[in-house]
Point group: C2
């Protein structure tokens, strides 16, 4: 099943990242960072809602003091809108996110690009708006040194969250926007892409574009595709196979746990969640 | 927006089909058939649960008496299973469905191929089981004269209902199983495929394989992807664009309404549902 030897994650905090969505944003980032470091992670990916963007240096210091590095920053505002003013506002907001990401020392801003513009059925037109919005961020990417990682979302979210839904599509957008690979890369999330019949060739074809690898699991009989993700090993995704494919392209970033789980893991003691995540990284990822 | 002139559906019952799932299977097929014909549909696609497979000739006569023709028959049993016995049982069951479809005068049996075998994470292995199960049906397709229309389902269903999720994948399976196009075709359902970034080239590439075109709508903020489909025009899908693409390949079958809507349309008076469907076929499809 596994096409190539996988990097060992055991006792390697430098290869393990925790996306704070996994803990449900219940505590201040300084507390979260301490817990995450204690559980054996070397990296953290925070969300905008838990960072005070007026004083990012203070937040960055708290994360550093816990012994962690910031990997990515979550996430962009949606880019397709009915009015030009709303589109411009989204671009401005994303510029601020890039500034904060830079202050935190993040390598990339994760892009969730948004769905159809309000009231629109024009899927091609909304995709074109998104591409223009991403293009408008290139000077800010250049000046901050923070790249954007385009994250394809599961097609369940096409209407309202993301018109970017496969790795091959993300790769095509990267090539259109940035043929030299300086500004845009791809974030692969197992939950979003595991079903794709073109998964293996798409990953092989995206080569050095991968900037993030997110893991969680798809529960076999999930009814709720937003906040009902499974812990790695509790669902149907062959995570080792996915990681092997991504690592075979040369990806050497950390494996990042991101679990949205309102009714199960967000109700659990944060240290239990983190310990379970860390163990499952070793045993099933 | 519309690349080619569309066939006119107004006053053309011969171009309009009603899939009985739209009415929630609340009444006997004979009653349903009368309502469907009265609403201006010339075709009906029934489900196995409402057909007495011990006396299909009687059911066929009731449908004919209402003035309708049977278009397709829904649907196959899932084909990937942990045991060889269960896989054989599924094939036998699908053979019986083909027999009934023939007795009803249906042109094709709709295939919902099934998800991962119980307890399995082996997506390629389960897909291979499904292909073997479909292949095993070829003698029965030959003897009954009823084709199988492979229906790609939305990737929300990959784990538990269908490992076939895009038109391009369905086309590849058709070519593998049946290069001459005698046994296997494709059923396109707007709800399942509208999100696909490769929709236009996939449809163009599938050419004469299309045997059914199902319409409903994707509600922008749907939370429940099984039984919360929208009436055509109430959601985000550009149905005219989809129909134009499918008709441009030469498809000349009826446009078939299939709406699973537990909390809205299944609670509505069946004649109101049918009248609304028939109107929306003319105004938005």
């Amino acid at each position: 099943m596994v096409p190539a030897p996988l990097r060992d994650l055991a006792d390697r905090p430098d290869r393990c990242c925790l996306n704070t969505a996994t803990l449900g944003h219940r505590e201040p980032i300084a507390v979260t960072a301490q817990r995450v470091a204690a559980a054996g992670f070397g990296w953290i990916t925070p969300w905008r809602r838990e960072i005070d963007e007026r004083q990012p240096a203070r937040e960055a210091a708290a994360i550093r003091a816990a012994g962690l590095r910031v990997r990515s920053y979550c996430r962009t505002a949606y880019l397709a809108h009915a009015s030009e003013a709303a589109r411009r506002q989204a671009v401005d907001d994303n510029r601020r996110a890039l500034d904060t990401a830079a202050a935190l020392g993040a390598r990339e801003l994760i892009a969730v690009v948004g769905g159809l513009a309000d009231g629109s059925r024009d899927i091609d037109g909304s995709r074109a708006q998104i591409l223009r919005g991403l293009e408008a961020l290139m000077p800010a990417i250049e000046s901050t040194g923070v790249a954007i990682a385009l994250e394809p979302l599961h097609p369940f979210y096409t209407a309202d969250r993301s018109l970017l839904n496969t790795i091959a599509q993300a790769q095509a957008w990267c090539e259109t926007l940035d043929p030299e690979g300086r500004y845009f890369g791809i974030a692969v999330d197992a939950y979003h892409v595991w079903w794709d019949p073109l998964l293996a060739p798409s990953i092989a074809g995206a080569g050095p574009r991968f900037r993030a690898l997110h893991v969680s699991d798809w529960l076999r009989h999930t009814q709720e595709p937003l906040l009902d993700r499974g812990m790695m090993g509790d669902g149907v995704v062959d995570l080792r196979r996915l990681r092997a494919m991504v690592e075979a392209t040369g990806f050497d970033g950390p494996v990042e746990v991101e679990i949205f789980s309102r009714d199960r893991w967000w109700k659990e003691d944060p240290d239990v969640v983190l310990r379970t995540c860390r163990e499952r990284l070793d045993t099933v990822c």
